[in-house]
Structure formats: structure tokens, C-alpha cells
């Protein structure tokens, strides 16, 4: 079943074309990886889906509902969650508060009720704290729950950001380079989390990643962008054999080192 449909999407900044004629369907419950060289438009595509960019042409729909012109905070309410390439956590807040803010769309307390606190707001905070603690358990970050995020090492920050997106209880999770700058162990942990999120929580995952080993290993399907256009789509094996993709990554010299392109497994 198609959950997110991108139809003929185009994005221009002045004379610069970031995306052109992108058509892409994301099926419910799958892990879809978007790959492509630097500047191919992967993050731009994600920004269009989460609403930070307004596409110049084309249409986006989520569960059959047209979301092309919906502002970001309303898309969040539909269950579209994301992480960012350069960690965009609330650095002055604790891990707990970051995750609690992830539940912003589920909380009800108004200004006055929050200021009075005792009664409804307290009950609500405790109830949502439980949900947040589940995620803290899941991501194995119990020890740092009261730490201020800005003081945490990079690997933990990436994990907290994933936790914040999970706290939202999303239906689709957009991950922008969740493993950038990580060592092998951290990548393995992250890959495990992504697979668990996908299987146990039944969340659709759209993932941008440069590590081909990871991409080919965990994704159900792969879409390839180059210069703002989609040049290939399919299962990891299909994409790996696609000549256009090989050309985009390795240049014209045919047949050079398929091994380096995730074929080593």
C-alpha cells in the first residue's frame, strides 16, 4: 500500500534547480533508502516532504491526503517525523525534555493549565513520561536521561535525535544520514535500532545514507538521485546492477570495482 506519494516534484531556488520531476512512492512498512552523490538533492527532497521547503511544482500526498501546501507543524500531526543531517537538537534542554518535546503534538495542557501544573498537567506529564521512558529503554540511553544535550558526545546526540523522532509515535520516519561520522559499532547499533523500529513499531522508514554497505543491507528498496533527478529505483540488487547508477557514482569507466559499491558482502 502506498503511504507517501511524490508526484513530479520540482524545486527551484532562483535559477538553480535542486529537484526536477521526481516521482517516488513509499510503501507502508518498508525501508526505503535514498542515495546519490553530494548535492544530488536528497536532503532537499526530505525537506519538501517534511514541509521545510515549498516545492515549486508537483504534488505530495500522504495516506491519500494532499499535503503539498500543508505547513510543517500540521504535517507533524499527521505522523511525519524526521531527523536532521546536522543534528538539530535543543541543545540547552535535557535528553528527557528533548524527548518530551517530541511528544508535543500529543500533549494537551494549555498555558494556564501548565502554569498551575498540579492536577491535569502533572497527570499528563507523568503519563507521557512513561512513553518517553520506553524509548529511553529501547535506545539504551538511561544513563544520560538528565544530561543537557549540548554536553553529550556526537554518537549519543544522534541517538537522542532518533529518540526524539520516535517519541512522536510517527507513521513514517525520515532519517537524514543517521550514521554519518559514526564508527562501525555505532553504525551497527543504529542499524539495529532502525530495523527494530521498522519491524516492532511498524514505522515506515525513509533513509538517506552514504554507507553503501548499510544501505544495501537493511533497505527493502533503494532510490538513486543525481543532479536533482531520479536515475534509478528498485531492490538493492537491481540498483547495484543499474548502469546509470554505476555511471553516476564511478564515472564512465565501465566495470570498475563493483566491489567498492557494496558488492563486497
Amino acid at each position: 500500500m502506498i503511504q507517501l506519494a511524490v508526484e513530479n516534484l520540482g524545486l527551484h531556488f532562483g535559477g538553480v534547480t535542486a529537484l526536477r520531476g521526481i516521482t517516488l512512492d513509499v510503501n507502508q512498512g518498508e525501508i526505503l533508502a535514498i542515495i546519490g552523490p553530494n548535492g544530488a538533492g536528497k536532503t532537499s527532497l526530505l525537506n519538501c516532504v517534511s514541509g521545510l521547503y515549498r516545492p515549486s511544482e508537483g504534488r505530495l500526498s500522504f495516506d491519500g491526503q494532499d499535503i503539498t501546501h500543508l505547513p510543517p507543524y500540521k504535517r507533524a500531526r499527521l505522523g511525519i517525523a524526521r531527523t536532521f543531517q546536522n543534528i538539530e537538537l535543543f541543545r540547552g534542554m535535557t535528553v528527557l525534555d528533548n524527548l518530551m518535546l517530541g511528544r508535543h503534538v500529543h500533549l494537551q495542557s494549555s498555558l494556564l493549565i501548565g502554569g498551575i501544573y498540579f492536577g491535569f498537567a502533572q497527570k499528563e506529564e507523568i503519563e507521557h513520561r512513561r512513553a518517553v521512558e520506553d524509548i529511553i529503554d529501547f535506545l539504551e540511553i538511561e544513563k544520560i536521561r538528565k544530561r543537557v544535550v549540548g554536553t553529550l558526545p556526537y554518537g549519543y546526540q544522534k541517538r537522542v535525535e532518533l529518540g526524539r523522532a520516535l517519541a512522536w509515535e510517527p507513521r513514517i520516519l525520515l532519517l537524514d544520514e543517521p550514521m554519518a561520522g559514526m564508527n562501525i559499532e555505532e553504525k551497527e547499533d543504529m542499524a539495529r535500532f532502525i530495523l527494530d523500529i521498522n519491524e516492532e513499531r511498524e514505522v515506515t522508514v525513509v533513509l538517506i545514507e552514504h554507507d553503501m554497505g548499510v544501505v544495501m543491507d537493511i533497505s527493502d528498496r533503494v532510490a538513486v538521485l543525481d543532479f536533482g533527478q531520479k536515475i534509478g529505483e528498485g531492490t538493492p540488487d537491481e540498483v547495484r546492477a543499474n548502469p546509470q547508477v554505476i555511471r553516476a557514482y564511478l564515472g564512465e569507466a565501465n566495470g570498475v570495482g563493483l566491489a567498492s559499491f557494496g558488492g563486497s558482502k
Binding site: 537538537l89 518535546l101 506529564e125
Partner: protein, 348 residues
């Protein structure tokens, strides 16, 4: 860092402000001290305490906007003026009692603050500073020139003291209790706000507005809300000021006052409730202490003539020293002291 022997069994206990008996007793003692103060202090010092109380409410308001939500405002002086004048006009021209004029002043200031907060959706940092400065100038000019309503540069006099039936809050001591009851409510409300949904969203807007928006925080609504809450506090402070001095004039609400309040929250600690209190105490006491020092010193030095310049100069130096050595302000220093004694004498 947690002391040994402190066990939390429920989330409720974990989310409480005070975790230990010591911390609770510190609060009880503080409250007791506030209640007892007028009995032991002279009339003069009770008067100063009243000014501190009013400054605390104003500083809390500014800190909600600037420290917690990250929207820098130099319109504080003007918003105080809006509160003071609204309250005075409601009390004198419409004959409303103080108990209606006070919330009225808060609401009108909140409305005015929200209007001047609209540019914040597009403007950040220095650009917002200039926009709020424009607000300050516009409001100051309006107060000075709308003579029919505000009395122009003459100001307004005979603003009635608050009263319940035969009981009036005209004396310093009675006004003290009124002020500090409101200070208590304002402090508790602000503290609670920042451990629930709306306050958390304010802080998120400060730290990373783009991420906050992607997570479902309606930026425009929350920024305007921050301006409104902040201005409500400032309006209440202005109203208390008007009914305390019984007279107001435009020079009480200049851009200099705005700067003074900014200094308060910087010295006290941006983005902390306790910082607003420390800052208000510090900035109100500093000139008092300087004045008392200049008395004996003037016998030796020709210091009285330069007192005003000295005061401004020392303000400036103090702010610079804080920015360099303790950017998180007095609140952070207090936290360091508490942390030191928490594990004392075995702090390893």
C-alpha cells in the same frame, strides 16, 4: 549528581522541584524570612524590598521572553509604562478598583506586547532588537503626547492605593505583603510553565526553531504567546509600580529602564526563574549600596558630584565582568555553591 539515600520511586517524585529535606527546608526558611522581614527591617528597607518585588515580576516577564524563548526585547521600559498607565487610567478615569485595574493592565500590556511581537516571526537577533526598540520609541512617544489620556509630560498623580473595604494598602508594609503575594504567584506560575508543554515549546523555539517547527510547534503562535505572557508579567509589574508610588510620568519608562532589565536577567541568569530573582535583587540593591558607600567616602573624596556617572560606570563594569566570568549569571553561582556543599566534605 544525586546524594546517597535519595530514592525516587515514582515519576512524580522525579519531576518534583525539591528532592531532599534540605532543599525543602531552604524554601520554608526563605518564605519565613520574607514574611518576617517587615517586622525586623526599617520602613526604608521595606520600601526597597517593595521595589525589588516589582522588579522581580518585571524581570521574570523579560526572562520568559528573552531568556527562555530567545526573543531579545528592548521594549521592556515601554511595556512597563503601558501597564502602569493602563492601570492608572482604569483606576482614575473609570474609577475601577485596583483588583480589576491590575489584571486589566496585564491584559492590555499582553495585547500590546503581542502586536509588537508580530515582527519576531521574520526577524531574529539584532534585527528583532531594532524592531522592539522601534516599539519602545513609539510607545514612549505616544505616552508623552496623548495628553488627554496620559497627562503628557506632567504624568498622572493621585493614583489610588489598593483597598479592600476599609483596609488600604497605603503603607509600605501593607504594600509589601501585597507585592510579595503576587511575586510568589508569578514565580510559581513561571516555574511550572517550564516543566509543561507550552514552556518546553518556548525553550525549543529558542534552541532550534526549525526543528521545533518540524516537530509540530506552531512557531508564530508560540512566539506571540511568549510575547503575551511576558508582557502580562511586565504589565502587572507596571501596575504595582503605579499604585505604589501613586504617581507616574513618562521618564520612568525610558529605554534606559529596558537596558536595566536586560542587565538584570543577564547578571541573574538567562533562562532561569531564580536568575530573574537574583538579578532583580542585585540591580535594585547596587545603587542603594553605592549611595550608602558614597556617604562616608564623600568626606574624603569629592564623590557626590560624580555619583550618577559612577553608578552607570559600575553597572557597566559589573555586566562586563559577568559576561566574561560567569555568563550564566548569579543563578549558576548559586547552583555551584549548592553542588559544592551537597557532597561536602567528600566531594569526590
Amino acid at each position: 549528581m544525586i546524594e546517597c539515600g535519595v530514592f525516587k520511586r515514582t515519576y512524580e517524585e522525579d519531576m518534583a522541584f525539591r528532592h531532599t529535606a534540605l532543599a525543602r527546608w531552604r524554601i520554608y526558611l526563605l518564605l519565613l524570612a520574607v514574611v518576617v522581614f517587615p517586622f525586623v527591617a526599617s520602613e526604608y528597607y521595606v520600601g526597597i524590598a517593595n521595589l525589588i518585588g516589582i522588579a522581580i515580576i518585571g524581570a521574570l516577564g523579560l526572562n520568559i521572553l528573552t531568556g527562555f524563548t530567545g526573543q531579545i526585547s528592548v521594549g521592556q521600559g515601554a511595556f512597563l509604562g503601558v501597564g502602569a498607565y493602563t492601570s492608572a487610567i482604569l483606576a482614575i478615569r473609570l474609577g475601577l478598583p485596583f483588583w480589576l485595574a491590575l489584571p486589566g493592565a496585564g491584559l492590555v500590556t499582553a495585547l500590546v506586547g503581542s502586536v509588537f511581537g508580530i515582527p519576531s516571526l521574520r526577524l531574529k537577533g539584532l534585527y528583532l532588537v531594532i524592531a522592539t526598540l522601534a516599539g519602545q520609541v513609539i510607545i514612549e512617544w505616544t505616552i508623552g503626547h496623548w495628553v488627554d489620556l496620559t497627562g503628557g509630560s506632567q504624568g498622572m498623580t493621585n493614583i489610588p492605593s489598593p483597598a479592600i473595604g476599609p483596609l488600604t494598602f497605603a503603607s509600605r508594609t501593607s504594600y509589601y505583603y501585597l507585592t510579595y503575594a503576587i511575586v510568589l504567584a508569578a514565580t510559581v506560575f513561571a516555574s511550572n510553565l517550564f516543566r509543561s508543554k507550552v514552556g518546553r515549546a518556548f525553550v525549543a523555539v529558542r534552541d532550534r526553531d526549525i526543528a521545533a517547527e518540524a516537530m509540530g510547534v506552531h512557531l508564530f503562535r508560540y512566539k506571540i504567546l511568549a510575547f503575551a505572557v511576558s508582557s502580562f508579567y511586565v504589565g502587572v509589574a507596571g501596575s504595582l509600580w503605579a499604585h505604589y508610588l501613586n504617581m507616574i510620568s513618562p521618564e520612568h519608562f525610558t529605554v534606559g529602564v529596558s537596558i536595566e532589565y536586560l542587565a538584570m536577567i543577564i547578571i541573574g541568569g538567562l533562562g532561569t526563574v531564580s536568575g530573574s530573582i537574583f538579578g532583580a535583587i542585585f540591580m535594585t540593591l547596587l545603587p542603594v549600596i553605592l549611595r550608602e558607600l558614597t556617604g562616608p567616602l564623600s568626606a574624603m573624596l569629592p564623590i557626590t558630584q560624580v555619583f550618577n556617572a559612577l553608578r552607570e560606570g559600575i553597572f557597566g563594569i559589573v555586566i562586563i565582568v559577568f559576561l566574561i566570568y560567569e555568563p550564566h549569571g548569579l543563578a549558576k553561582i548559586w547552583r555551584n555553591i549548592k553542588d559544592y556543599f551537597r557532597l561536602w566534605p567528600f566531594s569526590y
